[in-house]
């Protein structure tokens, strides 16, 4: 009986997903601390909704930033109150600054991206207006590793036959295909769609969602209305002070005909089972 249990234990261990042993610590690119005038950076910490949401948060943050660089209506309100009580003078002030932006953004695209050691995603956006027709900035070299099919087959995201059918051509950087970071490096119209795996979802369904999200991303790159509002409130109450920053944003694309996506590459994250589609 013990022998059977032992073999069962060994069998279960053998089936466990082996995490790829990759040194994730990489030198952050220079653009994170020093973007050029035609670039904008958005960032987002990891969240339970997966890389799709994390990426969208970062991209939208960068777009809001571009929108405010192009056109922003600023209003400021300062309230100050000083009063003297029996033995001391007190000062209370409130300073509220609002920046409103409403622009149509065209030809903005992701030039690069990077995960820091804590998993925070930084996205570098180029374009908008001023950079149209300009040569993109040179990007730093990245060290990659080849895609390992075994990592995927062991993942149990789908039946082995389905996993075997996924042929990823790209090499990996920070455990993701290079085109996730630099979608324009292979094709100038390159675009990425990411779909999380939901319960009872088939591979084909997940692929359809990822494809549609890639098409939507292409649509947003071409033309997007960005309405954004940033608010900064500074409060001083005698010797205590505080400030709070809030940002709100709405984006909307036009309803237009979309071309069928020509899928260039595909990758399934063996850890999260999120499906990445790269097309043009």
């Amino acid at each position: 009986m013990l022998k059977i249990l032992f073999f069962l234990f060994v069998f279960l261990l053998a089936g466990c997903n082996k995490s790829p042993s990759v040194n994730k610590s990489t030198v952050p690119p220079k653009w994170i601390s020093n973007p050029s005038q035609t670039q904008s950076i958005g960032s987002s910490v990891p969240n339970f909704q997966g890389v799709y949401m994390q990426h969208m948060n970062a991209v939208n943050m960068a777009k809001s930033d571009i929108a405010h660089n192009v056109k922003s209506q600023i209003s400021s309100m300062l309230q100050n109150e000083s009063f003297v009580t029996s033995n001391m003078a007190t000062n209370k002030s409130k300073d509220k600054i609002e920046a409103l932006s409403n622009v149509i953004m065209s030809h903005s695209y992701q030039a690069d991206a990077h995960f820091d050691d804590d998993g925070k995603l930084f996205v570098l956006l180029e374009g908008g207006w001023s950079s149209v027709g300009k040569k993109p900035e040179l990007l730093h070299e990245i060290s990659t590793r080849p895609f390992d099919k075994q990592e995927l087959v062991q993942s149990r995201c789908y039946a082995p036959a389905v996993l075997e059918s996924i042929q990823t051509r790209s090499s990996l950087f920070q455990d993701k295909p290079v085109w996730f970071f630099r979608p324009k490096s292979i094709s100038k119209n390159g675009i990425v769609g990411i779909a999380e795996k939901e319960e009872k979802m088939s591979f084909e369904q997940q692929k359809r969602v990822a494809t549609a999200l890639a098409q939507a991303a292409a649509l947003k790159e071409r033309m997007l209305q960005v309405k954004s509002k940033n608010e900064l409130l500074k409060v001083v109450d005698g010797d205590v002070s505080g400030q709070v920053y809030e940002s709100f944003m709405m984006t909307k694309s036009a309803s237009t005909k979309v071309d069928e996506l020509n899928i260039i590459d595909i990758w399934l994250d063996p850890k999260s089972c999120e499906l990445y589609i790269y097309g043009e």
Partner: protein, 242 residues
Amino acid sequence: MKKALLVLSLVGALALADKSVLKTATINQNSYPDKSVSELQEMVLKKAKSAAANEIYGEDMSSATVMANGRVLDDVVKKHSGGVIRLKGEPKYSNGKSFGELVVTIEAYATDEDIKNAASANVSEAQIDDADSKIEKVKRGFYGVWGGFAMRNDGSSKDVKIDISDAGEAIVAYPLQKCGGDLIIQEKGISLVKFKEKIVYGDSGCARDGVVWLQKVNDTQVTYTQFGKDGVELSKGTLYRE
């Protein structure tokens, strides 16, 4: 002249001809172990018809997103491909090259009338229902008057009243202790807000220079936690929107 008319009428007839496409779709039966053959045939046929519709009518797509404080609140992608798809003959089913693959080939078409009807149909943009109110909800998340009781770490209780105005000013009152003051905002997230507490009236029974956290439970309920200067938790309780 007759020849010219004949050529013109032929060109005209071609321009008005039905649009027809040949489509092949594949499905892997291994991905649907619980489906019967007829169900799989229906699924793959639907896929082929959808592909035919996309080619004949094209696809319209639109997208909208709402974001607050660096977090996506809602994201909608709308895809629309319109129109009637008609089949010429019967769908042809066969096995694919790989194991478990089911393939269907169809000849689909749409009449000129179908295409005209689809083009005149209104395609609306992606809309996020009450996007403004979603943002407003985040903005006003903590605004309002909150009241309730908190347990102090010595086992006694105290009543707490917090009033956060639309303008972002916040005051706190501890009626039983007859003291209160201002709350000065330090950090605000969607579900957590942190204040520094400045007691401006009342006797020495009130803890001074503390920190107050309000953690959202739902729209009508927050958890109140008060910390002392050294970060030690002094009291905790639940406040309700009044």
